[in-house]
């Protein structure tokens, strides 16, 4: 019998573990190894250089820039997405409130939920190509075109969107335009998530608050939000990962993938540029390892900060 169990366990694990080792673990291990060499990626020549690549990383101007851009997304993507999603979920669930019947969702909330979720099922590439057209810097672009029609934008001087390196609030404008896409595509999903969490809050809590004379805003900040803590912190962690992975948008939407003039460079784009265009593969691997360490530290930190005592109801 025991022998049978061992055979069964081995049989069930063999294939998944083998695939995972070959296609995921082994490349990562190799990358970590290469990060200690000066390998160019395609030649056979590679020499062990120890931690040189990592030392170089610390004084690399481009990496520093990319790092701060990553940090920018890391702060803004979760912040704006969650704020907007919470606001929408709040309107959806409490917006139709009538004094007599207690808390009420708005009419047609089901339909809103279906619609707001749309961007989530679209592939990031579809979203990116679509927004490329929306952001076109001539009258054919959706936004520029509309604004020119109303007369808000001068046809000779259209909004440049993702080709605009000019800083806005200290951050290149292109990053803000990319942020808008990220928020646009994420808000609906998190709204549905928060909405589900809000609906699992017992109604009597709301009714009690109502009897005590709490208005919708009080109810939201004093009751709903504290009870949503867990869900919000999970969303924060997930959006953190999404924020680190803005590469698809940068790749499709910005001039020369990280441009203009490196204004939208993020870790992943510098990594790709260094490895495949500059042919400095060892150095690129060091960036990857640094990014991996950064990600893991961040995940640990986020989980630590957001972990609090659960409220059972």
């Amino acid at each position: 019998m025991r022998h049978g169990v061992a055979r069964f366990v081995t049989g069930f694990l063999a294939l998944p573990v083998a695939l995972y080792l070959f296609y995921v673990v082994w490349p990562f291990a190799q990358a970590a190894g290469y990060s200690l060499t000066d390998w160019g990626g395609y030649s056979d020549r590679q020499e062990f250089v120890g931690l040189d690549n990592y030392v170089r990383l610390l004084s690399d101007e481009l990496i520093r820039k990319a790092f701060w851009h990553n940090v920018f997304f890391l702060v803004t993507v979760p912040l704006f997405t969650i704020a907007l999603a919470l606001f929408l979920a709040f309107l959806l669930n409490v917006g139709g409130r009538e004094d007599r019947a207690g808390v009420r969702g708005v009419f047609g909330s089901g339909l809103y939920k279906v619609i707001f979720f749309f961007p989530q099922v679209l592939s990031l590439v579809v979203v990116a190509v679509m927004w490329q057209q929306i952001y076109r810097s001539d009258s054919q672009g959706l936004i520029n075109g509309v604004l020119m029609k109303i007369g808000l934008v001068d046809p000779d001087n259209p909004i440049a969107f993702t080709a605009d390196p000019e800083p806005f609030l200290g951050v290149p404008a292109v990053l803000w335009w990319l942020l808008l896409i990220a928020v646009w595509s994420g808000a609906g999903f998190y709204m549905v998530l928060f909405s589900a969490a809000m609906q699992s809050i017992p109604r009597d809590i709301y009714e009690a608050a109502l009897l005590d004379g709490a208005g919708p805003f009080h109810t939201f900040f004093r009751i709903t939000l504290p009870l949503l803590r867990d869900t919000v912190s999970v969303a924060w962690v997930y959006l953190g990962f999404i924020a680190l992975d803005m590469y698809a948008l940068v790749f499709v939407m910005t001039p020369s993938q990280g441009g203009p003039n490196h204004a939208s460079e993020i870790f992943a784009s510098v990594l790709n540029f260094t490895a495949f265009q500059k042919g400095q593969f060892g150095y690129a691997c060091a960036m990857g390892v640094a990014l991996a360490i950064f990600t893991i530290l961040l995940a640990a930190l986020q989980l630590r900060i957001t972990r609090r005592e659960r409220i059972e109801f």
Binding site: F12, L13, Y20, A31, L88, V106, Q140, K149, P216, L291
Partner: protein, 318 residues
């Protein structure tokens, strides 16, 4: 609330609601009005956001029906002068979207099936059997959730390339290779998700089945897997969407060697289409391409929206 308590409550509430036919001068009226204004505001804001979501999509779909000159002449209008279906046939044929679709469906059919099968097998064993190295393997799979894929890019490419020299089926630009890569990269989340699912299944049923003489394999396939159905649906949706949306892995691995045609998937093909279209300025063809990549998923979503929403949100909040 029961009707018995109603009279006593009525007294506390009169100041807050306007009784039928009540005057606006009553103290509660302002509040009721505030509620209505708030409801109106909610609707307004929700409608604005809904328009912001739908309008771009609609614009893309409608532009796909315009002729090229109309796209340039009337870029903003939502109503084409007539339906130019030829954009679609051009994108499908000359834009190779038909071939991309076929590639995507072939790869997806294999990879989603294998991901679910291998993922739940591994998750089941890791969740319900004690053996040495169990934790180690579980955490090994879990660590894949945090690692950036770009780091592994070149070694992965090299590995696939070298493999292709020995076994062409597993080399670059092969469907089967991409299936295996998708499976490997999807295992982390699938196992993470199904692990917690299998742990919650009751022991008693498993014991009963074993006493009845079922083998462990049979127990898994005929008892445990059917019981885990809700979880399988959730993770299945997650994997279909995730793998349909993949673009980095195919861009890296589906590169043709020695001039053979590339077996591109849809996301990858669309990027190239958008880049090339810029030179050829076949905008209506590009819009048609985006529409064709977008509509099937949207339609499937609208039909199964309940399952998709609950499936995906369960995937996050677990």
């Amino acid at each position: 609330m029961s009707t018995v308590t109603h009279p006593s409550e009525g007294s506390t509430r009169t100041d807050r609601r306007t009784p039928p036919g009540g005057r606006t001068a009553r103290p509660g009226a302002g509040r009721n009005l505030g509620g209505r204004v708030f409801a109106g505001f909610s609707h307004l804001f929700l409608v604005v956001w809904a328009v912001m979501v739908i309008y771009p999509l609609l614009w893309v779909v409608m532009s796909a029906f315009k002729s090229d000159s109309e796209v340039i002449r009337e870029p903003l209008s939502l109503i084409p002068d007539r339906l130019h279906w030829d954009n679609f046939s051009r994108a499908w044929g000359a834009g190779h979207l038909g071939a991309f679709f076929l590639n995507t469906v072939l790869v997806l059919a294999g990879s989603v099936f294998l991901t679910m099968l291998l993922g739940s097998m591994a998750a089941y064993v890791l969740a319900r059997y004690e053996f040495r190295g169990n934790r180690l393997i579980y955490y090994m799979f879990l660590s894949g959730l945090t690692l950036p894929i770009y780091l592994a890019a070149v070694p992965l490419f090299k590995g696939v390339y070298n493999m292709g020299i020995v076994l062409p089926l597993l080399g670059p630009n092969r469907h089967f290779m991409l299936i295996l890569v998708y499976v490997a990269w999807s295992l982390s989340f699938t196992i993470f998700f199904m692990h917690s699912f299998f742990q919650t299944l009751p022991d008693s049923i498993a014991e009963a089945a074993l006493v009845d003489g079922a083998s462990h394999t049979r127990l898994f396939f005929s008892v445990m897997l059917p019981m885990a159905r809700p979880g399988l649906i959730s993770i299945g949706i997650f994997n279909v969407l995730g793998q349909w949306n993949q673009w980095y892995l195919p861009t890296l691995l589906m590169q043709s060697v020695a001039g053979e045609p590339k077996n591109q998937v849809i996301a990858q093909g669309l990027i190239e289409l958008s880049v090339n279209q810029g030179y050829r300025s076949d905008w209506s063809g590009l819009f048609a391409g985006v529409t064709m990549a977008m509509l099937p998923v949207l339609i499937v979503y609208i039909v199964f929206q309940r399952q998709v929403q609950s499936g995906l949100t369960a995937g996050v909040s677990k």
